[in-house]
Amino acid sequence: MSDAVSVLLGARVDGPVTVEDAGLCGMIVLRGDLSSPAFKAACTEILGAGVPEALGSTVAGDRAVLWMSTDEVLVLAPFAEASALTASLAEALEGTHHLVADVSDARAVLRLTGGALRETLARLTPADVAPASFPPGMVRRTRLAQSAAAIRMVSDNEAEVYCFRSVARYVMDILANAAQGRPLGLF
């Protein structure tokens, strides 16, 4: 839809760690029995990416599947594909106990880039973000200061943060604030 705009309107704060609006992103909540053949098939056949291990993620091109809990994953895809993918997933899982919902508009995605991004995160999240504990590909559902958020390490220099759209500006502001902090010398 041409009228759709991301909640942060492309905001970006540069620095040793750059914090920016990752723009419109397709996101689909998928709940079900992660170990069932039907669920696995839906992921691999429709998304091309398999069901991730606990705390993990799988990536296939511009799609990814993020582990959220023992019965939930979050599907990432281009924004324009979200509606159609939601329908396809629902169709594939028809007859099994599942829930699929398009949450592309419910959340905001922020991107952190820069070698010091782990320190930026360490000022805000109680999760262990040391390289050994939080390697690329891992996903943590945690909080950033006072807001719930999920974090995915995309690479050692890039992370994505997923938060509710209503608090996107707060999350942007605390990340930008933390990114300006003096080095802690942690990682």
Binding site: R31, D71, L99, A106, Y170
Partner: protein, 1005 residues
């Protein structure tokens, strides 16, 4: 008189002078000084006034335990009261001022309290509470207010910034003395990641002052090489000026770093609060020396023996030309020797023990110092500073045997291990008879989730007062901690230390032991709060046998120092008064933080714009740009109303309501909770959650439902739409969205885990716009894309479709009594649709309305609001909502509770409408009064107002309320008490709660 010595001061850089002010006077110190040492070097022993009696006080300690030398520091946005001069490092431009006196430190009117001290005994405050009420108001309270309080409260906004940081480590070692260094080294060598924190700016703790030989090196050299070794380990992190503040469950610890307190340059964060998750914690927190309780032990010039030698050795400061040492142990002899070495006089060492023949006493004798055994101080002479001591036999009652002139007294009552961090999370203590102190019991350590200890104590903190033992203990502690964290303990040997052999100390709780009442009234236990030996004894006589009660009754240990010096001495006096053993009396509870931490550090980045997350709807920016008067609803900000330029708030509300009733209103309803409930058992699940039947709802239809707590009380309401055979969309109140989602998940995860139901909170996926008023359908038709006619989309139905090219879901529901459509659109398109609605609605005078308009519209229709008509004590039956309670269902959450006798009591107040006879607006929360008074002497009440508004539609005040037998009293006029304090009443008629369009014709077109 205290002064700077010509030489010495191992922490000083004498080449660098530092300028500071004290009470406005410009003074100079030396780089490396603390504020306390610099003041002493300037001859300023008097540093403050005590809390209760305003007695002149000098510095007594040299570290975190200092009770007396509390200062106001800084000015303006950097003003801070109650800072310890002993832990404040000196920097250029430091501003300090003493506190708790008027008009000046030297002459304080409040010191008169000291002369009336016998009228201010233990429990003074409590006793005043029991006095006649007027006495409290006119005598005691003004007096206490005038005399109480230490520093001033800061007035300006804090100019500094603060931050938090999280760190996960295998082992956290608290304390950077030789034990901490040894434990960190053992942990690091074992391969564990280690964080070692030290509260001061220096490594090594007391060892360089007290003297020790470790691995053949002097203490200072060994410390330097140990720090170098640790710094070279990539798995070890060292931080000075960082205090272990608290230990909590699951290896969680708060660590407080002070980054700029010691610098002139204040840029950057001032404090950083580290939140550490450690697999294992080692507390190497050392020990604190205890004062001795002799008469006038609070005179400026009486100091801890360890502090005296710290000032001499570390800062090159003389406590006075002549210092008498009084002790019950060998360690204090080190102070005498240090003074002697600095060229100062020690006229005598008074040793309460009957003999002193250890290496240290012999060394003192060899140095020519007079050692008197079996002796103590009967009384310190002097009015505002020490002028001499009167000596007595410790065994006697205080008969003076001799008087010695001196300027200072160095006292030592033995040492108490710092067990605070060990105790924070439940570590238990044993009484050690030999050392007369509490020490951690390793078999009763704080335990984690798996039942194993997660804290190990090391070194002096573990009761090993001799360096050799402390080092050996710390090495084992470091190994054990690494092992507990999953590493293999190092096989490298522990550092080897040699210590002088010390003879046993002898506990001395009162000096002399047979002191009479006159002396006991001058023996201070808690310097800051002015608690004396006589106060604790009085508390015991008055029946306060529990140490926790005695603490609160006397205020012993309740000051900002939390009894670091007074605790054990006070306990011992209490035990003595009760004829009980000290361990039977026990200790008070040790609570974090170890020393006070700043409020700024606790807040971290949460201030100003970042104070808390503010939730914004997709239309927030439009509201902001169009005169929204904000109302906080949960963390959301919703427009209360939109004011046009020059318009009053109440006029804006009335305009919005009138426009909506007459033509077209628009409401941002995005904040309403939207929870998707899906699965084969979804219907069954909702039948349990709601009081009415949801499983029978037809696909495409909506139903209003009530949710109750297990106790039957109404907790949320909203419209449920059936999306498909196995899926429902549940709308909740704005504030209820997260809470109700959690409520659903709790039942699903803990009670009905075998039911096949998934939930998802979709609240923020949609912007939801209520299009309300007689012209609502016309504007939707104008946007075009779907049929919203009465036939296709009747009242309480919903449909998916498109409007102006946006995929939407339209709910035909009404909270205003008007023709109303709630249009849900994807949040990212919300603003676009809103703009189009405003555009298309312009010809109908489309008027956005806020929450107040929403409230009035619903009140005119008699619709209840969660949080107004409910307050956690109201059940649906009270509100005339019996129709929404299914009689067919076996069960729902709250059903059983609603059958309890009190819930079915016909005397429960019931919902009615209320109209003042004169048409005015009833005060919110007003009570309906009846005749007479109840058993408490209060006026009898028979109802209360729950919602009250001015209705522009009816041009009069309308209200709802809960009234005794209300529905049976229609037309009756009752009295509501006004809230203006005049005692007048407002005559009010009981009416039907539906004030407007009783037949519901307007919404049904």
């Amino acid at each position: 008189m205290t002064t700077r010595l010509a030489t010495g001061g191992r922490l000083l850089d004498r080449g660098r002078s530092v300028s500071f002010t004290f009470n406005g006077k410009r003074l100079s110190g030396v780089e490396g000084d603390t504020l306390a040492s610099a003041l002493l070097a300037n001859g300023q022993m008097l540093m403050g006034r005590s809390f209760k009696y305003h007695r002149p006080r000098g510095v007594v300690a040299s570290g975190a335990e200092e009770p007396n030398a509390l200062m106001n520091l800084g000015s303006g946005g950097r003003f801070e009261p109650n800072q310890r001069a002993t832990t404040q490092e000196l920097f250029d431009g430091l501003e300090a001022a003493s506190q708790n006196h008027w008009p000046s430190l030297e002459f304080d009117i409040g010191a008169v309290n000291s002369h009336v001290s016998r009228f201010l005994p233990a429990g003074f405050y409590y006793k005043t509470f029991m006095a006649p009420r007027p006495a409290w108001k006119h005598v005691f309270e003004p007096f206490i207010r005038q005399s109480a309080g230490l520093g001033r409260a800061p007035k300006e906004r804090d100019a500094d910034v603060y931050e938090h940081a999280y760190l996960h480590v295998d082992v956290l070692v608290v304390g950077g003395g030789v034990a901490g260094l040894t434990a960190a080294r053992a942990g690091g060598l074992s391969g564990a990641s280690v964080l070692l924190v030290e509260q001061t700016g220096h490594w090594g703790g007391r060892a360089p002052v007290d003297g020790a030989e470790i691995d053949g090196q002097g203490a200072e050299d060994w410390i330097a090489s140990a720090v170098t070794e640790l710094e070279a380990m990539p798995n070890v992190r060292l931080q000075t000026r960082t205090m272990g503040a608290g230990v909590y469950d699951h290896g969680y610890a708060l660590v407080y770093e002070r980054l700029t307190d010691h610098l002139s340059d204040k840029t950057g964060p001032r404090h950083r609060l580290w939140k550490i998750r450690a697999r294992h914690i080692v507390t190497a927190t050392g020990a604190i020396e205890r004062p001795l309780s002799f008469a006038a032990n609070d005179l400026p010039g009486v100091m801890l023996a360890s502090a005296v030698r710290d000032y001499v050795v570390n800062y090159g400061v003389s406590p006075g030309d002549r210092t008498v040492v009084v002790t019950n142990n060998d360690d204090a002899y080190r102070t005498a020797l240090a003074l002697k070495e600095a060229g100062l006089e020690v006229p005598a060492i008074l040793d309460a023990r009957l003999e002193a023949t250890g290496a240290l006493p012999e060394a003192a004798r060899a140095a020519g110092i007079r050692v008197l055994t079996g002796r103590g101080i009967a009384k310190v002479k002097g009015r505002r500073a020490v002028e001499g001591v009167a000596i007595c036999a410790q065994a006697g009652e205080g008969a003076v045997l001799e008087e010695i002139k001196c300027d200072a007294v160095a006292m030592s009552g033995g040492w108490s291990p710092v067990v605070h961090l060990w105790s924070h999370c439940g570590g238990k203590l044993n009484w050690d008879d030999a050392g007369a102190f509490f020490r951690p019991d390793p078999s009763r350590a704080p335990t984690g989730a798996d039942g194993t200890a997660f804290v190990t104590v090391a070194g002096t903190a573990n009761g090993h007062l001799l360096t050799a033992e402390a080092i050996a203990d710390a090495h084992e502690a470091g190994k054990a901690a690494a092992k507990a964290a999953g590493h293999t303990a190092t096989r490298k040997a522990a550092p080897k230390a040699t210590s002088e052999v010390e003879a046993p100390m002898a506990p001395v709780w009162m000096m002399p032991q047979g002191a009479g009442a006159a002396l006991r009234q001058k023996m201070w236990l808690d310097y800051q709060n002015d608690v004396k030996v006589s106060d604790v004894q009085l508390a015991a006589r008055e029946g306060f046998e529990s140490v926790e009660h005695t603490k609160r009754y006397t205020t012993l240990g309740m000051a900002t120092d939390q009894g670091k010096l007074s605790n054990i001495n006070g306990l011992a006096i209490l035990a003595g008064s009760l004829n009980a053993a000290i361990p039977q009396v026990g200790t008070t509870t040790f609570r974090p933080p170890y020393t006070p931490i700043s409020m700024g550090a606790i807040a971290g980045e949460a201030r100003g714009e970042l104070f808390q997350p503010l939730r914004r709807t997709p239309l927030h920016d439009w509201h902001e740009a169009n005169g929204a008067v904000w109302e906080p609803v949960g963390a959301w900000r919703r427009p209360y109303t939109y004011r046009k330029p020059g318009e009053a708030t109440e006029d804006a509300v009335a305009r919005e309501i009138t426009a909506t009733r007459a033509s077209l209103g628009l409401l941002d309803a995005s904040t309403l909770g939207k929870i998707l409930v899906k699965g084969p058992d979804a219907g069954r699940f909702l039948d349990m959650l709601y009081t009415n039947m949801m499983s029978s709802l037809a696909i495409g239809k909506c139903r209003y439902g009530l949710m109750c707590s297990e106790n039957g009380f109404l907790m949320d309401d909203g419209v449920v739409a059936r999306l498909s055979d196995d899926a429902f969309l549940c709308h909740t109140t704005t504030g209820g969205a997260d809470r109700i989602h959690a409520h659903m998940e709790e039942w699903l995860q803990t009670e009905w885990w075998d039911w096949k139901v998934y939930t998802a909170n979709l609240t923020e996926q949609y912007a939801q716009i209520a299009v309300v008023g007689p012209n609502a359908r016309k504007v939707l038709d104008k946007l075009g894309g779907m049929d919203v006619s009465k036939e296709t989309l009747p009242f309480m139905a919903w449909a998916d479709g498109a409007l102006a090219g946006h995929a939407v879901r339209v709910f035909r529901i009404s909270f205003s009594g008007e023709l109303s459509f709630e249009v849900a659109v994807k949040a990212n398109e919300g603003r676009a649709l809103w703009d189009k609605l405003l555009d298309a609605g312009a010809e109908f005078g489309a008027t956005p309305y806020g929450t107040e308009g929403l409230h009035v519209l619903r009140a005119e229709k008699g619709f209840i609001m969660i949080g107004d008509e409910t307050d956690g004590t109201v059940i649906p039956q009270d509100l005339g909502l019996g129709w929404a309670i299914s009689k067919k269902k076996d069960d729902y959450i709250g059903k059983r509770a609603q059958e309890r006798s009190h819930m079915t009591d016909p005397a429960r107040w019931k919902l009615v409408g209320l109209e003042t006879v004169d048409g005015t607006v009833l005060p919110d929360g007003a009570y309906a009064v009846g005749d007479g008074v109840n058993e408490n002497g209060q006026r009898v009440t028979q109802g209360r107002v729950t919602s009250t508004y001015y209705s522009p539609t009816l041009a009069r005040g309308i209200a709802m309320g809960l009234v005794l037998d209300g529905p049976d009293r229609m037309g009756e006029v009752i009295d509501f008490a006004s809230l203006d304090g005049t005692g007048t009443v407002v005559k009010t008629k009981i009416v039907d709660p539906v004030f407007f369009d009783k037949a519901g014709e307007k919404q049904n077109v």
